[in-house]
């Protein structure tokens, strides 16, 4: 059980920050997509920059090991183009109206929002639908 504790703490920090960044706010998402405020662009860009620097530091360190001594491999996404573009478009269509991407969905479910629970229920059905139709879709 204790080996999962770091993930629980990191996840708690993540959920806390998502709410404090107001990335879980429908209003802020509309503001972002209409280019009316730099705030969420700043969040995304500084997150990517910070992630990049952290990953480069791991890559360049002599001891590339996890806390419990396994080797670290920087994850590679599978090759492809259509699945990324079509999938991204579909997700974006949902995100632009509902204002919640999966991280904020879970964070808002934690606040007890019935609306967010409805989005989560829909997202689970959408995931299931993809799994059932996967072989018929262009990838």
């Amino acid at each position: 059980m204790t080996r999962y504790l770091p993930y629980l703490l990191a996840g708690t920090l993540f959920g806390f920050v998502l709410v404090k960044a107001e990335a879980a706010s429908w209003y802020r998402i509309q503001e972002m997509f209409h280019f009316q405020n730099f705030h969420l662009f700043g969040v995304m860009l500084s997150a990517i920059a910070c992630g990049f620097i952290g990953v480069q530091m791991i890559k360049r360190s002599r001891q590339r090991e996890t806390l419990d001594g396994q080797p670290i491999a920087i994850p590679e996404k599978p090759a492809g183009r259509k699945n990324y573009i079509y999938g991204g478009l579909t997700f974006g269509l949902g995100w632009g109206v509902v204002g919640l991407c999966p991280g904020p969905v879970f964070a808002l479910v934690g606040t007890g929002s019935i609306g967010a629970i409805a989005v989560l229920a829909g997202a689970l059905h959408g995931t299931w639908l993809y799994g059932a139709l996967k072989d018929k879709l262009p990838h």
Partner: protein
């Protein structure tokens, strides 16, 4: 103590929140060589609940190997509870005048302390149906693309993955279309 509490309740500027979110990528690698991402948990939840008689291959794998990820997302809910309920921001979201004018032209009231507008999130049949349907797009799309904002925009771009760049372009194009065209049309 007072200042600490005020700091925990107030919203955080982008240059505080963004780096903390980005930190998740190296942190997950350091904790256990894991790739940071949220939407794969939707797949794990489907794998856990899939009935035997409708077995879809996509959900037939040992989800227990991904327990760490489900634990992370339990943490995300806990963090949401702490930030949104225990240390809730006493002020409404401070929108730019341009955003306020736009939302009012869509017929939305000035935002209160909720994260999402009551016009859209108050639990009635119309709203819940709409939210469920939009959720289907989110779940279908993220699995089709193999990731969401966390897995592609943050982990993927910060590790320079070409596929993630395609996904982010798709996500942004879809989001622009729906927030400029669908949202005013459907929500008005």
């Amino acid at each position: 103590m007072e200042t600490l509490l005020a700091g925990l309740r107030a919203p955080w500027p982008w240059y505080v929140a963004g780096p903390l979110i980005g930190l998740m990528v190296p942190l997950m690698l350091l904790i256990g060589n894991r790739s940071f991402g949220i939407s794969s948990n939707l797949r794990h939840l489907c794998a856990i609940t899939q009935p035997r008689q409708v077995a879809v291959d996509f959900f037939r794998y040992d989800w227990k190997e991904h327990t760490w990820s489900l634990v992370f997302v339990i943490g995300t809910m806990l963090g949401g509870y702490l930030a949104g309920v225990v240390f809730a921001n006493p002020q409404p979201v401070q929108l730019t005048p341009a955003a306020l004018a736009m939302l009012q032209s869509w017929g939305f009231a000035v935002p209160g302390r909720e994260f999402a507008p009551p016009e859209l999130f108050d639990p009635n049949v119309r709203n819940l149906t709409f939210l469920f349907a939009a959720g289907v797009l989110v779940g279908f799309g993220t699995r089709y693309a193999g990731g969401c904002t966390s897995g592609h925009a943050i982990t993927g771009l910060s590790t320079l993955q070409l596929g993630s760049l395609y996904a982010v372009l798709g996500i942004f194009a879809g989001g622009l279309f729906s927030s400029w065209v669908l949202a005013p049309l459907l929500l008005r």
